[in-house]
């Protein structure tokens, strides 16, 4: 189910939070309402962690992660790094990387299997991404923008991209990511998808300005109607038991 909320009167919830299938990072500050919204949805299933990165609140745009790992920019302080390592479940590998493009959330978009990266990303970073997150990495652009992490958001079930993406590009990306993609907007016509919303396999959080039409599009493409958290978490637990 998709939820609409605001962070301190801003509708860009994807900037202040990072949602994956195994954990959720939320920025400090703001009212308790923001935190409560996430807790209400997620606390039974996955840990919701309040943190800052490099002293800033824009946690969603600075880090990138999936159920396998979390990558942090070089600006992250040691305390934050320690805090995160403590709070996250053990199977999630936390790593700080040295990368010139430090806003990793803007440069990389990933789900549990595939990642799209900024075309100018370092080779080493690409290798670290492939290793820590356990994904296949593709350098791509979305509708001519190189900040793929900002202009598209995808989960294991589906993805939403910049509205000006052409049909051919959409097909190409869909083939790469192996998920259905749709071009759409969020927050009343805003094109910066990933900044306006954050999503995982069973739930999504969007800015309060998102219209009903946009919300229905999101729910359809990410298949949020049928999704139940328990099924997915059970799958994860099963794998844990196995190992």
């Amino acid at each position: 189910m998709a939820t609409r909320l605001k962070f301190e009167n801003s509708c860009e919830v994807g900037v202040f939070s990072k949602l994956t299938n195994a954990y959720c990072l939320v920025a400090i500050g703001g009212s308790e309402n923001f935190y409560s919204a996430f807790e209400a949805e997620l606390s039974d299933v996955i840990p919701v962690i309040r943190t800052s990165i490099g002293g800033t609140r824009i946690v969603g745009r600075l880090c990138i992660g999936n159920k396998n790992g979390l990558l942090l920019p070089h600006t992250t302080t040691d305390q934050e790094l320690q805090h995160l390592k403590n709070s996250l479940p053990d199977q999630v590998r936390v790593q700080r990387i040295e990368e010139k493009l430090s806003a990793l959330g803007n440069c990389i978009a990933c789900n549990d299997h595939v990642a799209l990266t900024h075309t100018d990303l370092d080779k080493e970073t690409e290798e670290v991404v492939a290793d820590v997150l356990g994904v296949e990495v593709f350098r791509q652009t979305v509708a001519g923008n190189i900040l793929v992490g900002s202009y598209c958001a995808f989960s294991n079930k589906g993805g939403l991209v910049h509205p000006h993406t052409s049909v051919e590009d959409l097909d190409e990306l869909s083939t790469l990511l192996q998920v259905p993609l749709v071009a759409g907007t969020v927050n009343r016509g805003s094109e910066v998808i990933a900044a306006g919303m954050t999503v995982n396999d069973w739930t999504a959080f969007c800015g309060a300005d998102t219209t009903a039409t946009e919300l229905s599009v999101i729910e359809n493409v990410f298949k949020l109607r049928e999704a139940k958290p328990s099924a997915i978490v059970d799958e994860m637990r099963k794998s844990l038991f196995d190992s």
Binding site: P163, E168, S190
Partner: protein
């Protein structure tokens, strides 16, 4: 494009479709990602624009006020009015950053005092999308008399410049001719009042420049000398505004067409010593003089004339009828000053003498091309005249006894007496001063003479507009001409304008029939 030029393979990009974020219909993505209708419902770009304005209008002269003080004459639903209305919106639009795309009038009842304009504007909204919207502006027309109309209404006789036109001769022929010229060129269109005075006409204007323009016009069509004066009417010492009344005194030279003149030696010297007895053949802004004995020609322009101002010896009032007994051409046809003349020796006798006594005169005349034995001609009788002219007394040389001027059509005219002409003239709206004694009969006779002159002289007609006389019956006159087979001088129909034509457009056609053509008068 550049990639394609470089030979690279590029995939053809098809624009996908997204759902409008508000209403959910499929549309092509745009900068706002909303369909046009939703965008329109969201944003009103006409907010903050003026929708109701005031136009100040003067009902007397149909003009609109352009602040601070100019009044422009504009027609309803005209392009100029549209430009005028839109100018008022310009500043307001620039502040709101909208661009004007289209404007048109919506019809309103003329009495409603409303002018409606539908305007289309464009504005940029939502980071890049340009939205176009049209809306209605209503202009309320407020009535307010403009300054010139209120001045006229307050004191209709108020004038600022007066032009006093005078000619000191005993007839009004010049003024009849000038009246027609003025009508044709519309020189007196700005005159507030026109008044007929003794020996002249007064014109009153509300502006000094109008008066000046009129004086210059007269200066171009007649030999004049003028002077101007001004009189202080009021004076505002605070703002140093002085109001004056200006008067122009214009005097026309007394030399008229067909006058006989004895030139003073100074004037004769300027003109190359032509004989002292000359005829004035044409008066425009210069005087054309012809020596009938030698066919020599001279021009005096206004300045030269007034330096050696001389009066005419005999005027056309004093023309006497002569009958030509015998005529013999002495020279071939000579073209002088645009007119053809033939020098001839002729034997003439006064009609009053003819048959009664044997008084005959052998004279030299310039009308050899016109006259045949038995013709009647009009001329000046220097033999019998008792002239009181100093120049004539001083001159010791040969003075002709008779100077013929033109051929006479009197007899033929008598048959036509009382029948209306096929053409008529317009006249100026002149006031006649009651205090001055006006001789009605004299006026009528002079006017009749003027009309006859017009018929005889095509060049006199050149600058005048003649209008068709609706009351004219052609059949009557036709029968007259058929009887004796001689055409009398008349104006051919091509020269006439329809009576309802206000703008005179004179066709410079070749005249089919000329009054001076062939004629054999059988006595």
């Amino acid at each position: 494009m550049m990639a394609q030029d470089a030979g690279m393979f590029t995939v053809h990009q098809t624009i996908g479709s997204v759902l409008c974020c508000k209403c959910g219909i499929r549309m092509q993505p745009n900068a706002a990602n909303m369909c046009v209708k939703c965008l329109r419902s969201e944003v009103d770009i006409t907010e903050g624009l003026l929708k109701r304005l005031v136009l100040v209008h003067c009902p007397e002269c149909e003009s609109y006020l352009q602040p601070p003080r100019t009044w422009v004459k504009l027609q309803l639903e005209s392009k100029e009015l549209l430009t005028f209305c839109l100018k008022k919106l310009q500043k307001n639009m620039n502040i709101n950053k909208v661009k004007l795309v289209n404007a048109e009038f919506i019809w309103t009842e003329p009495h409603s005092k409303r002018v409606k304009v539908k305007v289309s504007v464009q504005k940029e909204v939502y980071n890049g999308a340009i939205l176009e919207q049209s809306y209605l502006i209503e202009y309320v027309q407020q009535d307010h008399m403009c300054e010139s109309c209120s001045r006229v209404a307050a004191n209709p006789d108020q004038w600022v410049a007066a032009v006093q036109l005078r000619q000191h001769v005993s007839h009004r022929r010049t003024f009849f001719y000038l009246e027609q010229l003025i009508l044709r060129h519309g020189a007196a269109a700005r005159a507030v009042r026109i008044k007929q005075m003794d020996h002249g006409i007064d014109f009153y204007f509300s502006n000094r420049s109008h008066g000046n323009k009129f004086v210059e016009f007269i200066g171009k069509v007649a030999p004049v000398k003028s002077r101007s004066d001004k009189q202080l009417v009021s004076h505002d010492s605070k703002s140093n505004n002085y109001n004056y009344k200006y008067t122009f005194s214009v005097e026309i030279s007394p030399i008229c067409h067909e006058d006989l003149i004895c030139l003073p030696p100074k004037a004769a010297a300027i003109l190359g010593n032509i004989g002292p007895i000359v005829i004035c053949t044409k008066v425009t802004n210069s005087i054309a003089l012809l020596d009938p004995l030698t066919l020599k020609f001279g021009f005096l322009d206004a300045e030269q004339y007034w330096r050696t101002s001389f009066k005419s010896l005999l005027t056309s009032r004093q023309l006497v009828e002569y009958i030509v007994l015998d005529i013999e051409a002495v020279s071939s046809e000579i073209t002088v000053g645009g007119m053809k003349y033939v020098l001839a020796d002729a034997q003439v006798a006064r009609v009053s003498d003819f048959g009664k006594n044997d008084t005959q005169f052998s004279i030299r005349t310039h009308l050899g091309h016109l006259l045949k034995p038995g013709d009647l001609a009009l001329g000046y009788d220097l033999y019998g005249a008792n002239s009181n002219d100093m120049e004539l007394d001083r001159y010791k040389g040969y003075i002709p006894e008779v100077v013929l001027i033109k051929k006479s059509y009197e007899e033929k005219r008598q048959k036509r007496r009382g029948k209306p002409r096929s053409w008529k003239l317009k006249s100026l709206n002149m006031e006649v001063d009651d205090k001055i004694k006006v001789n009605e009969d004299k006026n009528d006779a002079e006017y009749e003479n003027f009309l006859k002159d017009l018929e005889e002289n095509p060049e006199l007609r050149f600058n005048i507009s003649l209008y068709q006389n609706k009351d004219y019956q052609p059949s009557e006159v036709a029968s007259v001409t058929e009887d004796d087979g001689q055409p009398i001088p008349s104006v051919p129909d091509d020269e006439l304008l329809a009576a309802d034509l206000l703008a005179a457009e004179f066709d410079d056609l070749d005249l089919i029939e000329d009054g001076d053509g062939e004629d054999d008068m059988a006595e």
